[in-house]
């Protein structure tokens, strides 16, 4: 079941390679159909998981793949992976709908995205370090081609930068994995066995080195300050759907790696260095927000808010490592909030990037200053953007609020000062998102009376139906999570408790 969900897109992609070129108009529709079927399967799996145990691993598959190297094709879903898997299904479907009019090299475009969907799903369900690494590396390759092949003029450079940075991260990750493998007896790459063995319990030095290597790899991917410098150019130059997947899915690979690998396998080291993660989290929150405040390019601004949002996740996870005594129960809330934040950020930032793409398709620029007073000409677009902005700044009623509220509540007891500091981040983010909204949509129309020719705003068309149906479901889901979070939190909660039981002192 789970393997079908993971490999369905790749199988379709492989078949598409053989379809003759003149049928190329069908390709986007095939993509939509494939993603829809995959999402339906994910929903079935989710239902089955709740109806079943609702805790632990479901749909487990464990095939001997490389027993010589202590590695197997071991996959399953649990409370951490299931929400992210579902998010992956939703976002790829949204991108498929959005890309229905993609004209440039449609065949390669569709095949690459289908391949990337398999890679993303595979990463989130893998319970073996090598399988995880295989998908981690392939996600870099696929995203490189998407940015380099369909990006804006500076894409080649940005794509190379993206590749090199995250590839450094992936090699650090690999070295960390090999370190875990060598430390375990019997030697294994299997995460469940490694958690069970806790191989580095008595060796804090080696555990610290390995945690450093793994965290370096994951932090580059997340990205946190100071490893975030690849992110803004990659986002700015990437095509819209590429940005959505990069922000919505690929960044989650980093944060997901922390809850799946770094925390449970190296619990003692995580406790020892939790303060480092808390600090990195807070710095990312504040730095991301402040730099975003200074941006005039819409996509760069959203990219920096991603750094800010990822910072909350790292903060919550770090605080879980600091928790002692009565705070341990609360820290389960922080972990649960971190996972909710992953989902929420995927939905809202995905929507924001899609809307930025919509704007670019009309105005030809991401420069915020080039627009003004759009609310009159494009009301539906304005409405969508308003919802996305309010969701993203953490207004109650949206998923972002649920996530950030949990993170702050859960972290306050064990890390009061950093948590208080990071609340400032919320204020800054709110200010910058509202300012952006105000400049583009409100005001007296064409504000730029200097030399720059204003975008053709009078003739600007409102959102097309494919754009609407790509964005609206993401926002609707965010609202559903914001109002009825129980269906999501009930799945995450047992996993968060189990993790805290391992990590909590």
């Amino acid at each position: 079941m789970l393997s079908i969900i993971v490999f369905l897109p790749a199988i379709v992609a492989a078949l598409l390679l053989f379809v003759p070129r003149k049928r190329v108009r069908l390709f986007p529709w095939i993509w939509v159909a494939t993603s829809a079927v995959d999402l339906a399967l994910i929903i079935v799996a989710w239902t089955g998981y709740i109806v079943g145990t609702g805790t632990g691993f479901g749909y487990e598959e464990n095939v001997r793949w490389l027993p010589m190297l202590g590695s197997g094709y071991h996959i399953a879903v649990d409370g951490f992976s299931l929400p992210i898997v579902a998010l992956t299904g939703v976002l790829f479907l949204a991108c498929a709908v959005y890309s229905l009019r993609e004209q440039r090299r449609t065949r390669s475009w569709v095949i690459l995205f289908l391949f990337l969907q398999t890679v993303s799903l595979g990463l989130f369900v893998s319970l073996d370090l090598l399988v995880f690494f295989v998908f981690f590396d392939l996600s870099i390759v696929a995203m490189y081609f998407i940015i380099a092949g369909w990006g804006h003029p500076g894409a080649a450079r940005a794509a190379l930068q993206f590749f090199l940075y995250t590839f450094v991260g992936s090699l650090a990750l690999l070295l960390g994995f090999i370190g875990l493998y060598l430390a375990s007896t019997p030697h294994t790459f299997d995460m469940v066995q490694l958690v069970h063995q806790d191989p580095l319990k008595g060796d804090p030095v080696v555990a610290g080195i390995i945690l450093f290597a793994i965290s370096l790899g994951l932090a580059v991917k997340t990205p946190t300050v100071p490893f975030h410098t690849w992110l803004p150019p990659a986002h700015t130059e990437a095509p819209t759907a590429g940005s959505v997947i990069l922000a919505g899915i690929l960044l989650k690979m980093g944060t997901y790696g922390f809850v799946r690998i770094a925390m449970p396998i190296l619990p003692q080291a995580w406790r020892d260095y939790a303060l480092v993660f808390v600090i990195v989290g807070v710095v990312s929150v504040l730095y991301g927000a402040l730099v975003a405040l200074a941006q005039t390019n819409l996509k760069r601004m959203i990219a920096y808010t991603s750094v800010n949002h990822m910072g909350y996740i790292i903060l919550g996870l770090g605080a879980a490592g600091l928790a002692t005594g009565s705070n341990v129960q609360a820290s389960a809330l922080a972990v649960s909030g971190a996972v909710t934040q992953m989902v929420s950020h995927g939905l809202l930032t995905g929507a924001l990037f899609l809307l930025a793409g919509v704007l670019y398709a009309r105005g030809g620029t991401y420069d915020i200053g080039a627009y003004g007073g759009l609310a009159k000409t494009v009301p539906v677009f304005t409405g969508l953007m308003a919802v996305a902005v309010f969701g993203s700044l953490g207004l109650p009623g949206f998923s972002g609020f649920i996530a950030e509220f949990q993170i702050f509540t859960g972290s306050l007891g064990s890390a009061p000062v950093p948590t208080a500091l990071s609340v400032i981040g919320i204020v800054i983010t709110a200010a910058l998102l509202l300012r952006m909204f105000q400049r583009i949509f409100l005001g007296a129309g064409q504000r730029s009376h200097d030399e720059a020719p204003p975008a053709p705003q009078a003739s600007m068309k409102d959102v097309f139906s494919r754009e609407f149906f790509a964005v609206a479901p993401l926002l609707a889901l965010s609202v559903v999570i914001g109002i009825l979070p129980a269906f999501l939190l009930h799945v995450i909660d047992p996993a968060a408790r189990a993790l805290v039981a391992l990590v909590g002192g």
């Binding site: 001997r64 793949w65 490389l66 027993p67 010589m68 190297l69 090598l130 690494f133 295989v134 590396d137 392939l138 390759v141 490189y144 081609f145 380099a148 092949g149 080649a156 190379l160 590749f163 090199l164 590839f167 450094v168 090699l171 650090a172 690999l174 070295l175 090999i178 370190g179 493998y181 060598l182």
Partner: protein, 484 residues
Amino acid sequence: MNGMQSGQEIDLTAFVPEIAIAVTAVLGLLAGSWLPRYRQWVVRALALLGILVAVIATIISMTRAPEATAAGSYTIDVSLNAARLAILVGTAIVIGLASGSIAAAKRESEFHVLLLLAALGTIVLAGATDLLVLAAGYLLASVPLYALVGFAKDRLGTEATLKYYLMGALFGLLLLAGVVLLLATGGSTVYSELSRSLPRGPTAVVATGMLMLTAGLLFKAGSVPAHFWVPDAIDGATPPIAAFIATVPKIGALVALFRISTDAFANVPLDWSLMLALLAAATMTLGNLAAFFQRTVRRLLAYSTISQVGYLMMIIAAYGHPTRALPSLLYYLLAYTVTNLGAFAVVAAFASRRGVDDYRGLFRRHRWVALSLIVCLLGLVGTPPTAVFVGKLTAFTAALDAGMGWLVILAAANTVASVFYYLRWIFVLFQRDHVGPEASEPSGPTGMPRTEAASIILAVALGVTSIVVGLVANPVLELLSSSK
């Protein structure tokens, strides 16, 4: 050497692969002298037949227990059998790559005979457990290649031959001098006896002998400091020969280096592992740095092979843990053979495109070849799930286990650096070609650029093989660590 009986009598059945190649070479030479030019394909068929027989004999040999034969001077074990397979299959692929350009050429049979002899010499290198056999293998593996590099008799090829020959002669001399020194201090040429006697000899002389002997092997492997010939020879030779010298001799040389390190040098009171680790570090770093600035694909691949040898040397430096290092080395060599030949097959298919920029727009015109090239290049980077990824994974594991964390980190840094130049080549595949290479490319009757059909098929097949070998790495690794 436990578990092996040193046969004093030579069991000829154990040598079937070597004999098959030698006999085929002689027959090919004889047949080639009598056949008219348009029937020289017979020699090619004969060569492939001989290789097929040798491969079958090797597979049969894999089922037998390892043995040291010919008074301990030649050891038939999993290392030799893996090297035999890689060398034979590699040679067959090179014959396939050459089939388009060499068919009915003036000296087709000589080409194939020389190729077979070079392969035979390389196999002997891999199996030798006696210094004299090693020296003989070195010469047999080198001399035919000098002729082959200059086979086209053009300006570049002649220059390349000269450089290759001069370097080869120099390092051959060093190797022979090393043999003499080790014989003088160890009193024998057989590895098993040397491992007992060398530790008692004067350390300075023994160390000099070891270094000189190793220098010869480093030349064959194309490793620093004996790497200067690699780019010139690969650039000057025809693509099939370039593919051969970039791949096949390294197999024999590296297996020989591993064997001599474990069997003969292990007990010498020197940090031999550190010496090899330093060589590995220098090789991978220099190869990568030089590859940065290459504008032609052959020189780029030439420097890439140097850096790959650096990673392979890293495994050899971990020879102290043979249960991990040996399967890793053999697997990496197999993976490298497939992947590197895949990249060279693309070069052979588009022999007239020399610069990286000439590959502009290849993806639009030859989708499958371009995909295969991408797989092979990313494979050389070590991207999963290709074969070289598993090779690199086991290499890193072996080196970390041997306590060489610094070398592993350097190797990782080098891997990242290598992405830079491999990606540059991959990137141009997707660019639109403004000035098509047709202007410089000789056109066939259909007006399409003339390409080598056999090379294209081989390129795609090798790309697929590279992924398949990576995905089913387990049985291969099991086979390679079965004995020893």
